[in-house]
């Protein structure tokens, strides 16, 4: 790529300020300069203003003040149609595809090639295939979208933008939903786009991805741009410091483990899904007081089912789980909570919270029926509010009022609400599934420290996470799940070679039953 081309500014935001009608200042005099043909990473904690800035560039929001320039010319991007006409395409985190349509139909949607009054399906497929080949975005044009994997759906979104003539691509946390393999494919596709003259703006939480893919990186914090740097002149620590305004300690302060008696004992636990698939296959392990037992594994290898059986959301086919010697209630979430199992669910928006309800309502779902929250048959609202205020303080939840709806919070603060509720339930066992997924670095650090503190106080914690660094960092013992069974138990996670771990996770290696018995 010649230097001349690299330096030409393609899109620029100058002194952009956005104040939402509810008074939230989301962008405060933001300047962003993106040059032609670069991969520009945009990083920042949840609520730093990245999404708002991108929404302004894509016409989903209008700036309160400031101006957007495209190739040096001031432009008014009133709505996404205008953005598309100007050659700006956006791939949202939640895909905007019609699930029952084919890939090709989705790509050409609304600008279909026609033959008479009908859609020219053959041409749509050919055009899709041609675009896919040109940019190295592998898709099956004739497959129905809801039958193709997530990675391909994302490529369909990119093709959609390409088909509409986009030159600038805004990718909003594109890797959040991808497996490591799919992420690799995506990065290859992004490089392909850039090689053919396109420009990519890439929002992410993951610093590793920034260093891996981007040419330049802009860091946002508190609605402002902290700075833009060339990626090869920066490092992860420096970016982390810019993001949170202080050094993030990548290593949690973790006192040595003091293991107590076994709290949870799981023996031959088996769960068969409705489809007949054996999702949990004779799983046995213990969790002890004062330890974090981590469960690593590629997602979809039985972790979800294990957690849901242990928390009373599903019933096991056979096998036992006992808490302090008493059986864990089956298929009864309240009973499971009452014996002392707290649960941070992996899907916080679907299971962990009601986003239209107030923060205070969200914080009492496990205790509203008990004193002091209910007395003489009535809810004690002051108690619920006090409870919420105490938790907002203790867990550093950023909000102006405990009665605000949960959806007014950023992702990290929503997760803190869930964490606060589960931590204060005074559990015997805490099951934390993906506790920091999609959460900003500041909140990750906070939640990690909370987990460690609780474990040091003697709580038994079962940690399930797809983030390898997270399980390796927090766990006192590590268990690897593959295809519904336990592939390996590691008594000391610090001593594991990552490569070795990968082999167990991918089913290439399996510890013998005797070995595992010895390691319990």
């Amino acid at each position: 790529m010649n230097t001349n081309k690299q330096k030409r500014v393609i899109i620029e935001a100058k002194a952009v300020t956005k104040i939402y009608p509810n008074g939230v200042l989301a962008n405060n005099g933001v300047n962003l300069v993106v040059t032609q043909g670069e991969i520009h990473a945009l990083v920042g904690e949840n609520g730093a203003g990245k999404s708002t800035l991108m929404k302004i560039l894509y016409g989903l929001e209008r700036p309160t003040h400031g101006q957007v320039f495209l190739r040096g010319e001031p432009v008014q991007i009133a709505n996404p149609q205008v953005a598309i006409r100007l050659g700006i395409g956006m791939v949202h985190q939640n895909f905007m595809l019609v699930p029952s349509f084919t890939v090709a139909e989705n790509v050409v949607l609304n600008t279909e090639p026609t033959r008479g009054i009908t859609v020219d399906t053959a041409k749509a497929i050919a055009q899709t295939q041609a675009l896919a080949d040109q940019y190295g975005l592998q898709v099956l044009p004739e497959a129905q979208v809801d039958s193709v994997p997530v990675g391909m759906r994302q490529r369909v979104e990119i093709l959609k933008a390409l088909y509409r003539g986009a030159d600038i691509f805004i990718l909003d946390e594109p890797t959040a939903v991808l497996t490591p393999g799919e992420t690799r494919d995506l990065f290859a596709a992004i490089r392909n786009l850039v090689n053919q003259g396109k420009t990519v703006i890439f929002i992410t939480h993951k610093l590793r991805e920034v260093t891996e893919i981007s040419d330049r990186v802009t860091v946002m914090r508190d609605a402002q741009v902290i700075g833009t740097v060339n990626t090869n002149e920066s490092d992860e620590r420096m970016l982390a410091r810019m993001m949170v305004g202080r050094e993030v300690f990548m290593v949690v302060n973790k006192p040595p483990v003091k293991r107590g008696k076994a709290v949870l004992q799981v023996r031959d636990l088996t769960y068969v899904a409705e489809s007949g698939k054996v999702a949990l296959d004779n799983v046995s392990f213990n969790v002890y007081e004062g330890e974090v037992l981590g469960i690593a594994g590629v997602e979809g290898n039985g972790q979800t089912e294990l957690v849901e059986v242990l928390t009373g959301l599903r019933a096991a086919a056979h096998g036992t789980a006992t808490l302090d010697g008493k059986p864990v209630p089956s298929n009864d979430p309240r009973a499971a909570r009452e014996v002392g199992i707290a649960h941070i669910p992996e899907d916080r928006l679907n299971n962990g919270a009601a986003i239209s309800s107030s923060i205070s309502d969200n914080l009492i779902v496990d205790r509203y029926y008990k004193a002091p929250y209910s007395q003489h048959g009535f809810l004690q609202l002051e108690q619920a509010t006090q409870n919420a205020q105490a938790m907002i303080e203790q867990f550093d939840i950023v909000t102006s009022n405990a009665e605000n709806p949960l959806q007014s919070l950023s992702g990290g603060n929503m997760q803190k609400v869930i964490v606060a509720r589960e931590f204060t339930a005074q559990p015997r066992l805490l099951i934390a599934a993906q506790p920091t997924r999609g959460v900003d670095i500041g909140a990750i650090e906070f939640i990690h420290q909370q987990l460690i503190d609780k474990r040091t106080e003697g709580l038994a914690i079962l940690l399930v996470s797809a983030d390898l660094q997270e399980v390796l960092k927090l766990s006192d013992r590590l268990l690897v799940m593959y295809n519904g069974h336990i592939a390996a138990i590691f008594p000391d996670p610090t001593a594991i070679a990552e490569e070795d771990l990968g082999l167990y996770m991918l089913g290439a290696k399996q510890q013998s039953a005797d070995d595992m018995e010895a390691l319990q």
Binding site: A15, T17, I19, P21, N22, G23, L25, N28, G29, T64, H65, G66, D222, A223, Q224, T311, L313, P333, R334, A336, R337, E338, H343, P345, N350, N351, G352, A353, A354, I355, S356, S357, D361, I364, V365, D366, Y368, Y369, S374, G377, F378, L379, L381, S400, N401
Partner: protein, 440 residues
């Protein structure tokens, strides 16, 4: 000015509270003035001169009428208090609907102004018409509350029709066949019977939904003809041999006392007030209400949190049935004073409109019931006073309903997103932008 100064731009909560209180007081004062004017107007048949006032005060039951009108005014204040800026939206919707209706009227009536005048002021022109309005609003309030309860749980119910019929039947049977008792015992007994009937008839679709996953929309609808048949079967058995129509003996015991001459306005108003307060208490202040709100907000979250979602579904439907049953009691003991076929007259479905208009807030239901029944009562008056045929009136009413519900449904679907007033003015925003630009 820096970003941190932003917090000072927001009004502190204590000031906000006292300001809200001030508005509330102003509203109440306005409502009181309004109710006095309204009462004088209705009782004296229009305000012409000072003599109208003395004429009105001399009218029978002036105090009771004034009391009812005070409640009407308070219902409006309560609505504004509950809905906030949404009130403006309701007013705009009503205005738009009436405007379309007026355009239609221009096309079909010789004297459109007279016709519209009849629709808009007719219900206040005579005491008996005013009475029909208030009576109807009381019934609509009860049905509206019933629907509000199921809507809060994100369920649906078309079953109020059947619940009303069986509630009326149960109450009337107590009135007819329980040996005469003091009114203070007999009425509550009849009310209890009616509520129990509604509870049980509401429980059936609740159980079907919770345990067999049967769509409650279908089951509640299908239970209506069954209830209607039970109703007419029993009515046929108990009707006097001499009666030419299928109608019961006039009820003599347990009747709700009428409190304003020339109308059917009864002490049933106390049941209506109690029902509004109880529904509000249930939804906002009881564990059951928390469960109902939570399954309505996200049923998966409710189950994860340990709420017995099946039990909550059954109870939400049953308690909704109680309110519909109470409507039946009110119609039997207060309005008709006997059992007739087609007792509810389609009231049940209009309760859905009222619940939607009130955005499922129990305290906002009475005002919307009053608004809606005003139009229900105004239609026939337009027919008699301006000889516009009833079919045309139905068309106009439908336009109004359509606009109302379209507006209500959109909000219902958007999960009631509130749009608070921006606390920052354009000017402040400019200051902030300047401040930002001045930063290094």
């Amino acid at each position: 000015m820096t970003a941190t100064d932003l917090t000072t731009l927001n009004t502190p909560p204590s000031t906000r509270r006292s300001r809200a209180l001030l508005w509330m007081l102003l509203g109440i004062v306005l409502a009181l003035i309004f109710s006095v004017v309204l009462t004088v107007h209705v009782a004296a048949g229009g305000i012409t001169d000072a003599a109208s006032i003395s004429k009105a005060i001399a009218a029978p039951a002036f105090t009771n009428m004034l009391g009812m009108n005070v409640l009407v005014g308070l219902a409006a204040v309560l609505f504004v208090n509950q809905t906030g800026w949404g009130t403006l939206r309701v007013i705009l919707t009503v205005g738009a609907a009436l405007l379309i209706g007026f355009i239609l009227m221009l096309l079909i009536s010789h004297d459109p102004l007279k016709a519209y005048n009849a629709l808009l002021t007719g219900p206040l022109s005579r005491t008996n018409r005013w009475g029909s309005w208030v009576e109807d609003a009381m019934a609509l309030t009860l049905v509206g509350l019933s629907i509000t309860l199921v809507f809060r749980a994100q369920l649906f119910s078309l079953g109020a029709e059947g619940q009303i019929a069986l509630g009326a039947m149960a109450a009337a049977l107590v009135a007819l066949y329980v040996p005469p008792l003091p009114l203070g015992i007999h009425i509550p007994l009849a009310v209890l019977a009616g509520c129990a009937a509604g509870f049980l008839w509401g429980m059936i679709p609740g159980i079907l939904r919770a345990y067999l996953n049967a769509n409650e929309l279908v089951s509640t609808l299908m239970l209506n003809p069954i209830a209607a048949l039970i109703y007419s079967f029993i009515l046929d058995r108990i009707k006097p041999k001499s009666a030419g129509f299928t109608v019961s003996e006039p009820l003599t015991a347990a009747l709700l006392p009428r409190i304003i001459d020339g109308t059917r306005v009864t002490t049933g108003i106390f049941f209506v007030i109690a029902a509004v307060i109880i529904t509000w208490l249930i939804i906002q202040r009881t564990p059951l209400g928390y469960e109902i709100r939570t399954i309505g907000a996200n049923i998966k979250f409710a189950r994860y949190g340990g709420i017995d979602t099946k039990r909550t579904i059954v109870l939400a439907m049953s308690v909704s049935g109680v309110m519909a049953g109470l409507t039946g009691v009110y119609l039997a003991l207060g309005i008709h004073q006997k059992l007739i076929l087609g007792l509810s007259g389609g009231l049940a479905f209009e309760g859905i409109v009222v619940a939607l208009l009130a955005r499922n807030k129990p305290l906002a239901v009475p005002a919307m019931a009053l608004l809606y029944s005003y139009l229900r009562v105004g239609g026939p008056i337009m027919q008699t006073d301006a000889s516009v045929s009833l079919e045309i009136i139905r068309v106009i009413q439908s336009i109004i309903i359509l606009l109302f519900t379209a507006d209500g449904l959109i909000v219902f679907i958007q999960a009631r997103r509130t749009k608070p007033k921006p606390p920052i003015s354009e000017q402040d925003a400019a200051h902030i932008a300047e401040g930002a630009a001045a930063q290094p």
